[in-house]
Amino acid sequence: MKKPGDPTQELQQALSYAPDWVNFMFGGETLSDMMFYNVLQVLAVGLAGWSLAAWFERRHLRSLSAREAPLQHISVNTCKNTAHCEPEASTLLIGSVVMAHDYFRTLIITFKSLVGGNIQPYERLVQRGRREALIRLKEEADLLGLDKLVNVRFITSSISGRFLHALEMVAYGTGVRTQR
């Protein structure tokens, strides 16, 4: 029967079988060595994520413009006027989206918020999320054959997961059908 050995020794033995790149990522002779390499790796992953995020953002903006165009016949307002609407067709509709920044941008924002002023990445994220929420609301209305949204409201709230903070953008309103 195998005797349970020293756990640190066992860990070291297990690590010695690991491929080179794992040793490069998590290895290092001294503590300062490990910290230095890890900072480099964190930055590398963050920068790669950042450039991917920028590409995803542009793609998302293109898709938003493409989806907004066919939904233009649905009129949206924040008034409660339903003077020319058919009965029996009104219903509450909700469009929502949860969005988050990549970690590298979050880091930049953390430093930027020390200075204050406009925090442009957040402005862009919130505007993008709100457009997406409104499009989802309109799509739902379109699906039900409704062509007017009255009393549309927006809410933004911060959602904290276990690992990351995200923003939830919600648009809701009453969908009605106008008489023709």
Binding site: H60, L92, S160, L164
Partner: protein, 105 residues
Amino acid sequence: MIITNIEKVPGKTIIQELGLVQGSTVRGKHIGKDIGAFFKGLVGGEIKGYSELLVEGREEAIGRMKKEAEALGADAIVNVRMTTSSITGGAAELMVYGTAVKFDL
């Protein structure tokens, strides 16, 4: 059951207000969704796991509100508002509230 967030229902006459009805739910995500969200956080953008969770949660809250209104014998719920608040890491509270009303038949 008709639900609107304006003070009336188009084409109907409200004869009686039955009072406040509400539905709320606190929903957490299982750890797998959170780990998925962690990796999605590397590139940012929409976090689909959380989006679905909140949509489901809101549906459940609306279902609870409807049940309360049905118990009062209401025909519709008007002037519905909704709120979301973050309770703790990994959970969100969704609340929906409105006024239950009765129509003129």
